[in-house]
């Protein structure tokens, strides 16, 4: 609970800070519009050459893209800024400022920054998802909707863990300028249901890089493709990955020597 209170405090502070720069809202909204535009163009291109992509109809793929944009918004607003700051501070030896505070270091490094305007992407992603769902042939039951909500949350946790594992690498490889590019590149694989990828890539996208789980599984819930085994498996995997992430964070932290003092 203490962690949640700290997170909420930082979130409010960060949001207030960002709210001063209102024009940035329009920039973020415009950029989000562009990325939705690209997604739609890609979709139209694909379905002008085929009626379905590996069993996914146009409306269903629209749902996948909506979820990908939505979760991307969560990452850009709340996760990535913290991770980039962490990497920068380790390199500059400024992480001492966070470590000397009487609070859990993993919580602190994960909640310090928020780019509230990027959350616009959550809204535009939800809108895309909404249009996709409205065009589906099947009705969505209450059960599907509930499991979708839950799975989306688990998906966000998985993506957070993945980012933190990557960022923790900074304790070994100090020069991590490539991190945002690497994540962004790999994250784009989530635009499509993982079923279309060849098996070696599919397994690595699911387990090594949990993007498959994070995006495709919630999309499967919305499009009523899901039994009960996958959600349970996903939850178990999330718990395991979170535990590993926490261990890995403290393991990496031991290598930190600080440079500012």
């Amino acid at each position: 609970m203490r962690a949640a209170r700290v997170a909420w405090m930082f979130f409010r502070l960060g949001a207030l800070n960002e709210l001063q720069y209102r024009a940035n809202f329009f920039v973020a909204a415009f950029q989000s519009m562009l990325s939705v535009g690209v997604a739609i163009v890609v979709l139209k291109l694909i379905y002008s050459h085929t009626a379905e992509l590996n069993g996914w109809s146009e409306a269903e793929l629209l749902c996948v893209m909506g979820i990908q944009i939505l979760l991307g918004g969560v990452i850009h607003a709340a996760i990535q800024p913290n991770m980039e700051r962490l990497v920068e501070e380790v390199r500059d030896g400024k992480l001492d400022h966070a470590l000397t505070k009487p609070e859990d270091s993993q919580v602190l490094v994960s909640v310090r920054d928020v780019r509230i305007w990027r959350a616009v992407e959550v809204i535009s992603g939800a809108a895309v998802l909404g249009v996709g769902v409205a065009r589906l042939d099947t009705e969505i039951g209450l059960g599907d909707a509930a499991s979708f909500g839950g799975l989306l949350l688990v998906g966000a946790v998985l993506l957070y863990c993945f980012w933190l594992i990557l960022a923790t690498g900074v304790f070994w490889i100090v020069h991590m300028w490539f991190l945002a590019d690497l994540f962004e590149g790999v994250y784009q694989t989530g635009r499509f249901p993982i079923g279309i990828y060849p098996s070696w890539l599919r397994y690595s996208l699911t387990y090594l890089i949990p993007i498959g789980f994070a995006i495709t599984v919630p999309a499967e819930a919305v499009t009523s493709r899901l039994g009960w085994t996958t959600p349970v498996g996903m939850l178990a995997f999330a718990v395991a990955l979170f535990a590993f992430t926490r261990w890995f964070w403290f393991f990496g932290l031991r290598r930190y020597s600080g440079a500012s003092a």
Partner: protein
């Protein structure tokens, strides 16, 4: 006592060549130190074409082996060469200009006798050598996994080797022009993103241009984008005649010249807006 005239005045051309060679050599050594980082970056980069490739291969297989006459093997060849071309045409990002201005980096660059673009061209050119060398194993891996169909003649290979440098120069000019927006506004990102989207759709980066609707292909004929993506890829993958190959190189030269002229004009105007921040 006689003073020795500086090399730049004795023989400007040799001085310039000297400058380029030295910068490239330094950059080779610098980049070689960060092999792990470069690999990570390359993996992020390779994800993009792999996605496109998988999607279009899936569609081709559903349609009985090809989309508009492009077979799965040709798609594989297109996107594998794509990665090499992309490797070459990554240049200094327009987002970096914010840092250049805010940290006062540019102040130092302005004090030097050469136009700052020469430093970028030479530095990135040096980096490319290492990048491409490190990238080749990845290309080999992709070739094993995706089974591309290649039929390149010696002439095509030669033109390709020139065209990737043409692509590099065109994109350097374009992104420099874009970066200079930063002198005028601190919110250039909206403009950068618009550019990147237009380029994505009209350059052959997203899909081979012949899969785009007719009007988009016509539009791209009037824009420089395809000469930094589609054309260099096609030299190796497509079936261009000797005339088309040489003509393409000519178009690259033309767009590089147009870009260089615009950079020259715009930089003079922009630098007047520059007030140094930082050291």
């Amino acid at each position: 006592m006689s003073t020795v005239e500086p090399l730049a005045r004795q023989n400007p051309l040799r001085a310039m060549a000297d400058f380029y060679l030295t910068t490239i050599r330094t950059q080779l050594q610098t980049q070689f130190q960060y092999r792990a980082a470069t690999y990570m970056y390359l993996i992020g980069m390779v994800a993009e074409p792999v996605i496109y490739l998988v999607v279009w291969t899936t569609i081709a297989e559903q349609n009985g082996g090809s989309v508009q006459g492009i077979s799965t093997g040709q798609f594989a060849a297109y996107y594998i060469v794509w990665t090499l071309v992309r490797n070459m045409n990554i240049v200094f990002t327009p987002y970096g200009w914010e840092w250049r201005i805010r940290d006062g980096e540019l102040s130092a660059a302005l004090l030097r006798p050469l136009h700052p673009i020469h430093y970028d061209i030479a530095q990135f050119a040096g980096g490319k050598v290492i990048w491409v060398a490190l990238y080749l194993p990845i290309a080999a891996g992709l070739t094993l996994v995706f089974d591309p169909v290649f039929t390149a003649t010696a002439l095509e290979v030669v033109v390709f080797l020139i065209a990737i440098w043409g692509a590099y120069l065109i994109r350097t000019m374009l992104l420099w022009l874009l970066g200079m927006v930063t002198f005028w506004t601190t919110r250039g990102s909206a403009i950068f993103e618009t550019y990147i989207m237009a380029e994505l759709l009209l350059s052959g980066r997203l899909v081979p241009l012949e899969l785009m609707p007719g009007w988009a292909q016509t539009l791209s004929d009037y824009l420089p984008f395809q000469w930094a993506f589609y054309f260099p890829i096609q030299t190796l993958v497509g079936d261009l005649s000797a005339g088309e190959l040489v003509g393409g190189l000519g178009m690259q030269a033309l767009w590089t010249a147009v870009g260089a002229f615009l950079v020259w004009v715009c930089f003079r105007a922009s630098v007047k807006k520059y007030t140094a921040v930082g050291n």
